[in-house]
Symmetry: C2
Subunit: 286 residues, 2 copies
């Protein structure tokens, strides 16, 4: 299996049309590169459900705030291409910034009620950038399905909602978070954790897992459940919790006093210069 | 020629797929109904360039402000269907509001720099509603081309820009404004002009035409050209000018002191309870 590298939209269109003419089903995995096993599991899942898989690698400037890590976001293209080829990916789309955002670009996609909630509260403009670039990529690639990791839970739900709200003709699939053996959710930014931070970071998934287990044992009080995570976080004072909340899986609204329907416990925290997020669903999706 | 009436999106999908399988090219004319010769000229133009034509009639609630005329916007479905059948339209799509905006709808398309300019200045949220519904209709109908009247010049340009910015795979065409014999731009709302207002309203197109002629005779000073229209407006004190400006045809930025590139003179005015808009390009499109 050779991996086709596509930079120009005309090449992408030719690739897409060839598959389409042959009646082949195309799956799409949009990424920012620096691929880890979480991304690769999406590619493998795509491989199982479609005839062809295309991955995009585009570090999207509009989803980074002014003080954020756009410039130091990891770029590891050679390793990424090798991993994609091994995983059975057919093509990788590597658009230039000027292709995606030509001069005078001015039309944006926004989820107005949710874009400033959760991660959006500390990252103004982030989800506007995410939704806009993802819709553009959807329109360029025009796949039958697109896969996203649940680790970025709010991102996944907002993209799923965008596709439904704007009648985008494809299926959005959320796939389970892939974790390190000790439980840490895989993330392209984890490589920047110092060894002592890496050791501390595991407290996040340990806390979330403890809350899920308590829920499964019958506890439905939201404050009790978040309290379990908070206690774990308190054991690592270097980890500064940004938010810790239980939300409805679909609406992302806080559940209130007790967990009734499908819910997810979400956390964001600062550790050194890094911002870490993680979440776990408390019960099956609605 | 019989006109097919489509209400549900599943019927629309079947209609679209049948054409697509037969290799036929589909053109789309989105409207709010109350069709006049301007709409019909779009349908006829569509007919000439495509194998099939679909028109949507949807009075889009999200593009009307709280104090605006959503409830009294004219609805003339029987006459509309007759006109469409005569013009060679293949299908009319009449979605319900609940189909377009199901409960919990929350994703919007916005042209942030231009949505509050010109008509947007007095109609907050208007272009957000227009762009969102048009993108939804584009995704539902998936035509090869879509036609809009230049009478709503800013609307046309913002839709054209949206399609380009978001990589929507279709061609947006702007078509010349159709006018009454005396010059008044056709509009669904004109039926609400009282006879004396109807007589006054012609001053708008008369003023714009005089400015265009002055430009063609060599005058490039923007203030002189708008002054010609202003003078005509002053002759009808019942007409309250909301804006009168000369803008670049593409960016819609005011041209400044003198007209150099492709420009358009635009006017909005209040006459009784009605808001009227009109415009004329001063020179060929860039």
């Amino acid at each position: 299996m050779t991996l086709k590298t596509i930079v120009e939209t005309a090449e992408l269109e030719a690739f897409r049309l060839a598959l389409f003419s042959a009646g082949k089903k195309l799956a799409f995995v949009p990424t920012m590169g620096a691929l880890h096993d979480g991304h690769i599991s999406l590619v493998k899942q795509a491989r199982q459900t479609a005839d062809a898989v295309i991955v995009s690698i585009f570090v999207n400037p509009t989803q980074f705030g002014p003080g954020e890590d756009f410039n130091r976001y990891p770029r590891t293209l050679t390793e990424d291409a090798k991993k994609l080829a091994e995983a059975g990916c057919d093509a990788v789309f590597l658009p230039n910034i000027a292709t995606i955002y030509p001069e005078g670009f001015q039309t944006w996609v926004r989820n107005e009620p949710l874009e400033n909630q959760l991660c959006g509260a500390s990252r103004p403009g982030h989800f506007r950038g995410v939704l806009t670039v993802v819709l553009k990529l959807f329109n360029l690639v025009r796949p039958e399905l697109a896969l996203f990791g649940k680790k970025d839970y709010q991102q996944w739900r907002l993209i799923e909602k965008m596709a439904a709200d704007l009648n985008v003709p494809l299926k959005v699939i959320g796939s389970e978070t892939v974790r390190e053996p000790d439980g840490l959710a895989m993330s392209s930014r984890n490589r920047y954790l110092k060894p002592e931070e890496r050791a501390m970071a595991v407290a996040i998934s340990r806390g979330l897992k403890a809350a899920v287990e308590k829920y499964k044992a019958g506890e439905t009080n939201a404050a009790t459940l978040t309290g379990i995570v908070a206690k774990e976080m308190a054991s690592q004072p270097a980890i500064k919790v940004e938010y810790l909340t239980i939300c409805d899986q679909m609406s992302l609204a806080p559940v209130g006093e007790s967990v009734k329907g499908p819910a997810v416990i979400l956390l964001a925290a600062q550790l050194g210069t890094l911002r870490l997020i993680d979440n776990m669903e408390l019960n099956p999706a609605g």
